[in-house]
Symmetry: C2
Subunit: 283 residues, 2 copies
């Protein structure tokens, strides 16, 4: 892929890591957009971006990556539509795709802007530019969602770019499938982990914790503003997952309450067998 | 601590790892007891034990570690009581302590056998001798529970021994406190993880998983026979934890269902703040 001029909007954990990865691993030029001037200056000093962005520079880009919250993402692209040049590909980096692609696909198609939804499946328990790392995407999956304004073929064409940043898999899928899968693999994990630490025992666990506790609670620490917006943008799918796990947990609870060892063992075996099957098939 | 003759009963994941750790890291002699003759021979060939045990050798031990399921543990010590010499310390390695110490404390006190409850807080998603590792306990906590037949001072005296196997913390506590904490840090984690993979999406997650999914589902794969017995031995405490997390998950579910972003964000912030506070205080 030839050298591109890449705009990155929002230099938080994801946008900042994108900027650092592009500069560390490729020869592309990065133009950064960030409302926190202190962060913007620091990103330039550290070489995470080449230039601080403005509306005029928007017209010079080959690729525009938007790493804002869902509502801000839609607002930014709608507001800046006049400055985005026809040859530029716009890809957002939000954790939900139905809401984003529904709001921006038809809009961008009408305005002649190329737009594809994107979701880098990587994160940390910390947020903001200071937590950003060039290696954040190493081995991760990048999900791409074609829209009315950007075809599957155009999405495929960006695979080498994302691989060059460290992504191992670049998967092209639909917004609906993305949102259903992400409700399970990521959103539910954050809710369950966040709920887990609310036990009265949580504050006294020191010395009593094994790997299982550490694993279950790692993502309990999260950006509550961002995640509550993401959850509401994917309400139906996440509700299905939450109702599902609550129903399953009630089965173990009922078997335990009745002292039904066979029933409890059957429930555990079903989960364990399923996990073995999944691990054999996937990853 | 001078050289001891240590009997280890049950050469599965925990007993096998104890045997390997003792032989790899100390100069003590290990006598192994295991009903699977093939495993017993292999353990001797590999140097994980010095001798295959029998009733007569039971009378020569300084320390007897029993790494069986709860019911088997109680049965083994009751059955072999006549062969255990008065100077030998018996420590079981089960994951529950109220049931074990209640069944064996008074019995051992009456029979003049020294007995302390024990729980090495370490494990793997695999079970049996082949999964056993000399390094399994590196950095882990060892929990010790004094009984009518073994004082806190006697428990303290074994701290150096367990540290020599790699344990970082050796905590002396009560059976009640142990069981309440373990219901939260370990048993609940296994139930939640086991329930997590039962989502219809679980079998299709390949390419959509990030670290959060991997963490939440690691311990879904478990020994269903052992864990169903452990859960029932700790029924009340685990029921409290299960009802607790189900209640918390219902709060997020209800906020999401109502589209109550402020409420959802408050719930997430409470969990996230709690996790930050715990991490600052503990570990």
């Amino acid at each position: 892929m030839e050298q591109m001029r890449i705009g990155i909007v929002g230099l938080g954990l994801i946008g900042g890591s994108m900027a650092k990865a592009v500069k560390a691993k490729t020869k592309h030029t990065v133009i950064g957009y960030e409302i926190d001037c202190e962060v913007l200056h620091r990103a330039q000093e550290e070489g995470a971006i080449d230039y601080e962005g403005n509306d005029d520079l928007l017209q010079t880009l080959d690729l525009l990556l938007v790493a804002l919250y869902p509502g801000q993402t839609v607002e930014f692209i709608r507001t800046k539509a006049d400055w985005i040049r026809p040859g530029c590909m716009v890809i957002d980096l939000c954790g939900v795709k139905g809401y984003i692609c529904g709001a921006l696909g038809p809009f961008c198609a009408q305005r002649g802007i190329a737009f594809i939804g994107g979701h880098p499946m990587a994160g940390r328990e910390f947020s903001g530019y200071d937590a950003a790392q060039a290696g954040l995407f190493q081995g991760a999956s990048m999900l791409l969602v074609p829209t009315e304004a950007g075809s599957a073929r155009q999405a495929e064409a960006f695979k080498p770019f994302f691989r060059s940043l460290g992504f191992e898999k670049v998967v092209v899928t639909t917004a609906e499938n993305h949102d259903r899968m992400i409700a399970f693999t990521s959103q539910l994990a954050h809710v369950v982990s966040n709920a887990y630490v609310k036990s009265p025992e949580a504050e006294k666990h020191d010395g009593y914790s094994a790997g299982s506790y550490k694993d279950l609670t790692r993502v309990a620490r999260l950006n509550d503003g961002m995640w509550s917006e993401l959850f509401l943008c994917n309400r139906e799918a996440l509700l299905d997952e939450l109702n599902g796990i609550i129903g399953h947990l009630e089965e173990y609870r009922d078997a335990l309450e009745k002292g039904d060892r066979d029933g409890l063992q059957r429930l555990l075996k079903a989960g364990s067998d399923r996990k073995k099957r999944i691990d054999r098939d996937g990853e």
